[in-house]
Symmetry: C2
Subunit: 486 residues, 2 copies
């Protein structure tokens, strides 16, 4: 959509659109005052800011459908938004002021829980932590867990196919979803709220909408999978000499623990040093530093003692085999929490240290060691002194392979000078290892062009064909995920 081309003739109809929305939603749920709309127009990290002709707050699926039909009638593009915690600008409108933000916040009902079926049916605007809490109340686990869980919403999780810390065992958001309700670009409601483990009666529309960031329709509700709640979760830390050792350790841990292994997170020495520098109260439990530290989590349906015994056996074998240098198993819940805190404070410590270059990449797990070695060397050449903050979900092949300015160098200046070069270098390396430059955060507006550059023309055309077929007028979150067809 060429925004400027529309401006002259379209402006007058936009106020008519806003008025028509107020008719449907009630004036209180159509925000136009800049003071009211501001929180919806900038993402939570403050990296993206847009303009909108209105922020619309429908109360239910029918109202979402009505708004999409009006948007179609008035040719207004819509940008759906959940908790506004995205990392790629997918929920921020463009700068034209011609788009409308559709906030799903008021679609916040848990429609039902079916413990025998291990499912929960939720509206798009339900906050992730609320789903976790409701599942826990039924002695069930909702396995999606990520840093923003206190404010992100399930609609956004689905639209970006969010990852997080439970993927090793339970999969991404995609694998946790059984059915969807979606408002199509034509303003119709697709009721695909199936609660079935098996259904082979046609094309997999569900998975097409998941990860599409609102570009093919607006997800309004979902049936999500629950799991039996484990009776014990035990955490351990292991110190290792290299990412290669961490890979050997992963294979050994999977052999020992099978599906009980629910977490396997890598933290480089420098990542933990940063945590120590900015959060002095956090204790690294080993006497000596290790080049790499792995956080493991076991989720056990038998007992804490069983999980602990399993850990002890694993660590013994790993130390004997020379794979692990030192290990410690959390003695209680508080210590488990403290181990996770170390991991979770890495991004916070990075922020304290100053602006940095963030990556969210994945490669085949078997390539991680080589990827880190090669890419570290290339970055050391390209940006001498740059400090690598390497951590992440090793069990999923997913690293936050971040780059901090050299000690004493102004971060702003470093980014201005190096961000483009380092991104290009990392993306080339990811591509060479057949990896992904956006593993769990989506493309949004941040990485569309870069991502398409690494896809084959065949794949880009397939995506564009689907987009054009389902949203022929390009009114659903245009410009995100897929570039418009020429």
């Amino acid at each position: 959509m060429n925004a400027s081309a529309h401006t002259a003739t379209a402006r007058p109809s936009r106020s008519a659109f806003v008025a028509a929305c107020a008719e449907v939603l009630g004036a209180a749920h159509v925000l136009t005052d800049p003071h009211d709309t501001a929180p919806f127009l900038t993402d939570w990290r403050g990296r993206y800011t847009g303009e909108a002709c209105a922020v619309l707050l429908p109360a239910n699926t029918e109202q979402v459908a009505a708004v999409v039909r009006l948007a179609r009638e008035y040719r207004v593009a819509t940008v759906p938004q959940g908790g506004n915690t995205g990392l790629a600008g997918g929920a921020t409108p463009d700068a034209s002021g011609l788009q409308a933000v559709v906030s799903l916040k008021r679609l916040n009902r848990i429609r039902g829980v079916d413990p025998h079926n291990n499912t929960i049916t939720v509206e798009a605007g339900v906050v992730l932590a609320e789903i976790q809490a409701r599942a826990a109340a039924e002695q069930r686990l909702f396995a999606l867990s990520l840093a923003a869980e206190g404010s992100c919403t399930i609609g956004g999780n689905l639209s970006t196919n969010a990852g997080g810390t439970g993927v090793l065992r339970y999969g991404n958001t995609r694998e946790l979803c059984l059915g969807l309700e979606v408002v199509t670009p034509h303003g119709e409601i697709w009721d695909g709220l199936r609660a079935l483990r098996k259904d082979n009666t046609g094309y997999d529309l569900r998975d097409l909408y998941i990860g599409a960031e609102g570009t093919l329709g607006i997800i309004t509700a979902a049936v999500m999978k629950l799991h039996p709640a484990p009776v014990a979760q035990v955490t351990a830390l292991a110190g290792l000499a290299s990412p290669h050792a961490a890979l050997d350790f992963l294979a050994m841990a999977q052999r020992h623990a099978g599906a009980l292994l629910t977490g396997f997170e890598l933290m480089s020495d420098f990542s933990l040093r940063l945590v120590g520098r900015h959060f002095g109260q956090m204790r690294y439990p080993f006497a000596e530093p290790h080049a790499q530290t792995v956080l493991l989590e076991l989720s056990d349906s038998e007992s804490e003692a069983h999980a602990r015994t399993l850990f002890e056996r694993l660590m013994e074998e790993a130390i004997e085999a020379g794979i692990v240098e030192d290990a410690v198993v959390a003695e209680n819940l508080a210590q488990s929490r403290a181990f996770w805190d170390l991991r979770e404070h890495i991004p916070l410590a990075q922020a304290e240290e100053g602006l940095n270059i963030k990556q969210d990449i994945s490669v085949p797990i078997s390539s991680i060691g080589r990827f880190i070695e090669e890419t570290d060397a290339l970055i050391a050449q390209a940006a001498p002194g740059a400090r690598m903050v390497t951590f992440g979900h090793l069990g999923d092949g997913n690293l936050h392979y971040n780059v901090q300015a050299p000690e004493g160098v102004d971060p702003q200046a470093f980014l201005a000078g190096y961000q483009k070069r380092i991104n290009a270098l990392v993306y080339e390396q990811v591509h060479a290892h057949r990896g992904s430059i956006s593993a769990e955060h989506g493309l949004g507006q941040l990485k569309v062009n870069e991502a398409m550059r690494y896809k084959s023309p065949v794949e880009v055309r397939l995506m564009q064909t689907i987009k054009a077929a389902l949203d022929p007028e390009n009114l659903m979150n245009p410009g995100k995920v897929v570039p418009a067809r020429d």
Copy 2:
């Protein structure tokens, strides 16, 4: 596509098409002699027979692409085929003689195994059992397992999103696939052979092709997930009074065993009586019959003793709670095998007993008890004396809810008189319980119209829009999965 409309003008060009294919594939790999083509034109159960202008046997992906381009040029519809073991006629051409069967049999290479990444890359024509064997050689498990595994191919498994006995823990074929290589309707090759656990860089084309039965393109290769091989698999049988009790037992087993529970199969008393009647050597291990028998399987990464202890604890609690009437844990591999044999001989015993009405339905697991009760009663009314052969993957909500003629009634006559009525009745019941009329077998040509009748017009239109956009000339397995747009 209206076949007859093409006939007059198109016939001559068909021989040109066949000649052009012979040029590309070599004459030996283009079958036209009825003696040679016959095995490809009838499905293995002999339910569907079609005609074809040729059976094409490309040797690799490039040859598949070349064949699809030629088919496009000559406007010949293609019908991809793997092991020809499908249950819904999806791989059988229509009766026009104008379609070409593309057999993927010669694409039978395992391209690679990556044990550290827990992945295997296979061509579409590799037989399922070969993948299992290759995984086992690497101390890995390939978790897809179903009756036809000795002859079905992974391309067919993917195209029908096959289920089987491992779904409870490992998911359907869909959940076991990380990446695909596909020949598009335009004869281009999409290389989506990613071996990543996380990749959020665009629309989920992979899952669109999975389950599409060749109507959107031809799958030529795939990256499939492996799991660490369990060190022990132990099986048990439990006798129960009702499907309701079986559901309570499922919840209890999942609480006890978590992800170690890899099998939970229901077998009604009459199902096992049929096995006893036709396979006298199979022993039912309980002294008294039980209304329902459940087969459980634990896959343990610790030891056989651990699995056995877990089973014993579970059975004790279930018997004390009055949920289970009697239980037996297999004492060795041979007995485990014998328990599975009971389960696997049910369809064989049915065949011995005579033609019957087969269903492959799923409902939310919590509804299974009510579904069986209600539907049994309705069938008893509609077809007095009809014998219900109810068995299947209870843990997935998936039943083979089959109906056998009353004792002494000619099966042929029974089917002629009742099949339509009973199907309609079962489908209505499935629909009322928000279930699926094709849980794990796909739609093929068998159930397209029925399935569409139970889908909303919105969903049918979405499917048709995608089909028309990706295959505008409707040349990819036309008539399967989705009805052509008017």
